[in-house]
């Protein structure tokens, strides 16, 4: 397990509406949220946190385009330049025949590319263990986490009271 070497102060909520309310308050209070963890994707969370739109779509497009060019280009080269053969009276460049494989490779490259990018960018993969704050987060608890490294005791109190006031059912610290 990789260690982030951080001291995390986090609060657990029982409901996503509470969570969303707490976050908007945190934003208004200019508190620096380390991360938010939920058991399922909560709608409305991303814009609240100010998360930029993922660029996976653009990556996917580029991967797909690579697939298209690879497939179509390779088949055209093999049939026209490398070893032209007569098949059933068709011309050496039977463009309609190339369409299915081109389409499939486009999709394949896009999918594999995006999935690999996804896991890479998220720091996930087979055998990788990322530190988690609480086992119940993947069950039914919602978590707002703050990184307490370099914070003085006033700021810590601010966070603690913020968490208590917004309805956190539990507040803990953990070193990850």
């Amino acid at each position: 397990m990789r260690s982030l070497n951080k001291n995390i102060l986090f609060g657990l909520y029982n409901d996503e509406t509470e969570l969303l309310g707490a976050i908007s308050k945190a934003k208004k209070a200019h508190l620096d949220i380390f991360d938010v963890y939920t058991p399922f994707p909560v709608h409305g969370l991303d814009p609240l946190l100010g998360l930029e739109e993922s660029r996976l779509h653009q990556a996917g497009f580029v991967f797909g385009l690579t697939g298209t060019l690879t497939a179509f280009g390779f088949m055209s080269w093999a049939f026209v330049k490398d070893w032209p053969i007569i098949f059933g009276g068709k011309p050496h460049w039977p463009a309609p025949s190339f369409i299915p494989v081109t389409f499939e490779l486009t999709v394949l490259f896009a999918a594999i590319g995006m999935v690999v990018s996804f896991y890479t960018v998220c720091g996930m993969g087979p055998g990788i263990k990322n530190p988690t704050l609480d086992d119940r987060i993947t069950d039914d608890k919602f978590c707002i986490a703050f990184d307490t490294s370099g914070l003085n005791s006033n700021e810590l109190d601010e966070i603690n009271s913020f968490l208590a006031n917004t309805g956190a059912s539990e507040i803990h610290t953990k070193y990850i």
């Binding site: 007569i86 098949f87 059933g88 009276g89 011309p91 309609p96």
Partner: protein, 770 residues
Amino acid sequence: MSRHYQVESGMSLTGSNADHRILVKPSEQGAAIANLYNEVAKLTGGSSISAPKVNDAALGMLKKAAKDLVENKGKSLVLSGSNNTSEQVIINATNALLGNIGTTIDFNEYSNRRQGSDSDYQNLIKEMESGAVSTIIFLDANPVFDGANNAKFKAALAKVGTKVAITIAMNETANVCNYVAPCHHNLESWGDANPVAGNYSLVQPTIAPLFDTRQAEESLLVWSDNTMNYHDYLMENWKSMQSGSGFASFQSFWDNCLHDGVFSTGATNNSVSFSGDVNAAASGVSQPANAPLEISIYESVNIGAGQYANNPWLMEMPDPVLRTVWGNYISVPVNWDGINNYTAFENLEDGDLVDVDINGKKVSCIAMRQFGQFPGTVSIALGYGREVVGLTGKNIGTNINALLEADNKGYTQYYSTQVSLKKLSKKDPNFACVQYHHTMGVTDNGKEENKVINADEKILGYKGFQGSLTKRNVIRRTNLNELPKAVTELKEERAEFKRLNDRTLYPGHQYKYTSGHHWNMFVDLNSCTGCGSCTVACMAENNVPVVGKFEVHRHHEMTWLRIDRYYYGDINNPNVVYQPLMCHHCDNAPCENVCPVNATNHSSDGLNQMTYNRCIGTRYCANNCPYKVRRFNWLDYTTADLFGINENRINGEELPFYADNLTRMVLNPDVTVRSRGVIEKCSFCVQRIQEGKLTAKREERQLHENDVKTACQTACPTGAITFGDRNNKESKISKLIHSPMAYRVIEEVNIDPNVVYSMKVTNRSEETIG
């Protein structure tokens, strides 16, 4: 154009090629001969003889035949296979009346074959029985199996003290002899022959003897205490022919004869006229019997009287008419119920087992429904059911030879009127027939006011369910009087096909194949008699595996070239058309498109190429072939794969057929032997094409049309198959493919085949049509 009338009861190969078939019972053969003589005599001023009654339909046709014959005096031929001397005398008299002696019947270059006499043979039986024979030597003969009254022969033979068989393989006769002298195979032998008067030929060995054998003639020399060896003896024999040959020395004469293979001394000069007693002969003619069932017995096209029973190629060659393999089958008549069903005699279906009683002896046979079989008759082939024979022929089929009897003059009779047939409730579990659908537009007079209906099966009252078959562009046929119309129709249809075929997905694209060769094949459906020689030649040339009866039963036959046989015309007496089908090497081949691994593609000289080593056996190409000419190696037929345990047996032999070293000598070294799991098909004998090209290259000249001949083309006795380069303006093929009667099978599918067929034209007399 010639016109062929055939008088018979069952559908023979010759009869299937006839314009008109006159159906008679076997016992009516004599009556037919006598009545024909009388009809011809009426028209030529001869006197009539007493003739037994022949059935009315036959009599009507015999009258027409006589009229045609007389209108073509000196240009006709009347032949009979009858083994009754009186009937043959009447035939000779008929030919004499028709002025054929000296014109179509040539006594100057007469044949020396078939000089044996059945009656001499029956006399031998009597002599042996009386103990008058002490030594007998058999050479190239197997009378214990194939002679008439062979049981009597075998019993009489036991009384002979010394029995010697000179033979290349054990057979039924050698099996009962005290001495067997194994002799050379023909290909290992020296010899000479005089098949036709004035024509001599020499036989030379092509291979050193494989086994410890001695040529028959050599044996005879040794036994007659002659110290000369046979080769020298042969040369001595030819010394007398040197004079008048134009050669100064015997050695040059001999060398020249060996090189040519034939030597002709010129025809004899015989003036012959008919002097037989027709009236006396009339009393010896066979009389029609009033039997409920008669059987005609014939030598099969592939096995003969049994001498070829050990030849797997011939066993696997489908009978041209029956389309069955590995056995003889009793042909039973078929009739149409007028609605939607063909029923056969005794409700028999193909493959049903029957017990047949012939001349008091009982045998078990397998039935086959036969179009054109005269009702009240059945037919079956000789040559099968052998017991002392190699691994191939053992116990295949039914032994009919044992039932042959001779008439009172000693001549073997190939029919019987003492026949009964009983259907058993069993079927042959491995019934092997390569074709299941037989008709291409047979008509019958319908129940509604003599209306002609298409007698192909009908379903639920809808007529002509398979009648659409008649419009299929597979077989094109016509009669001579309608030929101009058929040619015009063909031209119009082809123009329409071309109009449709020009609309492709790639307009403006067309490979032209004009710069090198463009191999084409022309098959003349008129010349093709359906004999099947081409199919066997193809198997021999291309190492096509023999798979055995069980595998053919499963439709796993491997033959690259097949001859489809279709019946058309009047369902009770149909005409037949044969269509040899091989890979058409289509320029727009559907098979090439669909092979995923690039195992089949088109060469620049128009051949569809097959790369056995690349094929992974998905069989999509075979599915996509509209002609269904591709063959798949379903099992390890050739013992070419690594798995020893799964090799196919063709007749229960212990060592697989293709694993035997002697058998493997038959393989053509120029052609790959394919392994299990690979598709194969006709290659237009590409090995011969390559050889031809190399020969021309070595001789630094253009390829001539005689440089390349495919195996099927070479074997065809009538020249029905022509193969060549259509780009060579001098070749025959380049002209033939533009004949107005030339068409391509299912041309409308736009596959652009390189095999062209020529319409079949019959010459039926117009009064009989419609």
